[in-house]
Amino acid sequence: MARERERTPVVDGWFTDDADAPDGFRLLGTRCRSCGSVFFPRQDSHCRNPACGATALEEVPLSPRGRVWSCTDVRYRPPAPYASDPGRPWEPYTLVAVELAAERMVVLGQAAPGVGVADLPVGAEVEVVPGVLAEDEERVWTTWHWRPVEGGAR
């Protein structure tokens, strides 16, 4: 019988556990309790706004939807530590930079499998979804993906 492989986030604390998130899957950032600046990747020790510098930050889920700032694809195998099996042919994937209106920031991520640059014109609406980055014998490495919102604004 095949052993159940452990689902492991590729990085700790950057996104919700897709199994039990009440508001659905989200990226996790932090927000300064003093000035309201938002940080992704999370900034826990102090606020990087030079006019603030406070040390109290709270975890916040980022907006689940945003608009394509730009995108590209990765046609050749990246070097380690990107996990890929050199014995298998390389399958290009898409990278997308997404503008989040509420946070006034741009966040990068991989697009969901099968989503190409033609599906992601600048300004198109996308949503964050749980994804799998890589699998090995012990683990399924989880990550975040962006995909076009069905019927979303283009």
Binding site: V38, V74, M105, V106, V107, V122, L133
Partner: protein
């Protein structure tokens, strides 16, 4: 305004993939710069090395590595690292010590030996290092960021892949005239269009290679230059090494995200433009005073951004400036007459120094077939990973 320093000598080791150590290339460039200056190595009072992360420990202490290789002679030493901006940092470290009276004459050297293929992060398991993480989580190689910027330009300004290809055509034509360039063949737009897509919309010939190479400068105080018989030397009148201003709203290597502008309005001038603005201010000049510029064309599309950030044209009009021929040899403001990274490939710590070497040759009127007639003022522009500005103004 800061004081000027003199450039007494410039020297390079040709770019390529030579399979030898960065130290060897650096020594060749250093000796060429010393010969050009008419100075013997023991006369140098300060040696500044631009570090490489690809040469093991000697790469992290490049100044001492070059000093030892040239033969210990007791000079002061400084080694600096700022990714692609390392060369400008090295020039600035030498300049500051010359202007402070700590030395009269300095040797600045940068050299690299690059592996084949994409640059990779330093080894080991390092989940606190954003450069390691962007490879681990996203597989975001450098050309992926260049692809993002290029597509954004296409959407915002109507740039086309044909425009990008024409940057390569222009730079390859100039590089074909440069004996230090790695690629010395002219390239056609059809050849660019026929090359493989690496990071859509960019193709192999839109993206700079990684190279071996070395560049060196002999710098001195203006007093020393006079005593040495150089009454009107080429001078460095500004070195910009600024960092971004919060919130930085452009996604740079190796970022996962921009800063959030939710609490603080973004600065009126973006990071790249602020690099040039600081250089202009320090030199007391503006873009209208320039005769030529050397900019960091990591990709063809990125060269067009630099036109705008240097103020050679308005925002979004880089492709228009290119199409009119203004930035080609013979144009109003030639850019990358060395051939640029398109013809050199990047030898990281040497590249910003090589940009200055080109300006020095031009301002001396010794650039041969690449000569910009009557050139008296030039600027370099570059940006290092993790927020390093780099721009040098050279005047005669």
């Amino acid at each position: 305004m800061t004081g000027d320093v003199a450039v007494l000598g410039a020297g390079m080791h040709p770019w390529g993939k030579w399979g030898r150590s960065f130290t060897e290339y650096g020594v060749v460039a250093a000796r060429a710069a010393l010969a050009d200056a008419g100075l013997e190595w023991p006369a140098v009072q300060l040696v500044v090395g631009a570090d490489t992360v690809r040469g093991g420990y000697p790469g992290y202490v490049a100044g001492a590595t070059f000093a030892q290789a040239l033969g210990w002679q007791g000079a002061r030493v400084t080694s600096v690292y700022a990714a692609c901006a390392s060369g400008a940092q090295a020039i600035n470290a030498a300049r500051a010590q010359l202007l402070a009276g700590m030395a009269d004459v300095a040797l600045v050297v940068g050299a690299d030996a690059a592996p084949k293929g994409f640059f990779a992060p330093a080894g080991g398991d390092r989940p606190d290092d954003p450069d390691w993480l962007r490879f681990r989580i996203l597989g975001a190689v450098n050309p992926a960021y260049f692809g993002l910027y290029a597509r954004r330009r296409m959407a915002l300004y109507g740039d086309t892949t044909e425009d990008f290809a024409q940057v390569k055509v222009k730079n390859a034509a100039a590089g074909s005239l440069n004996p230090n360039a790695r690629y010395r063949k002219r390239v056609t737009a059809q050849e660019v269009a026929a090359s493989a897509v690496v990071a859509d919309p960019l193709r192999l010939l839109d993206i700079c290679a990684t190279s071996d190479g070395a560049a060196a400068l002999v710098l001195s105080t203006l007093d020393f230059a006079r005593r040495h018989g150089s009454s009107s030397p080429v001078r460095i009148s500004a070195v910009s090494t600024v960092t971004p201003t919060y919130p930085k709203t452009v996604l740079d290597l190796p970022d996962f995200a921009t800063d959030s502008a939710v609490a603080v309005e973004p600065p009126a001038v973006g990071f790249r433009a602020s690099i040039a603005a600081a250089a202009y201010e320090e030199a007391g000049i503006g873009p209208e005073d320039l005769d030529l510029a050397e900019v960091y064309d990591l990709s063809t599309a990125l060269e067009l951004e630099w036109y705008e950030d240097l103020g050679l044209c308005a925002g979004g009009e880089g492709a228009k400036l290119l199409r009119g021929g203004a930035t080609a040899l013979g144009g109003r403001i030639p850019v990358n007459v060395s051939g640029g990274l398109a013809s050199f490939g990047e030898a990281v710590p040497a590249q910003a120094i090589a940009q200055v070497c080109e300006l020095v040759g031009q301002l001396r009127g010794r650039a041969g077939e690449r000569q910009v007639p009557g050139a008296r003022v030039g600027i370099t522009a570059n940006q290092g990973l993790f927020g390093h500005g780099s721009s040098v103004v050279v005047i005669r």
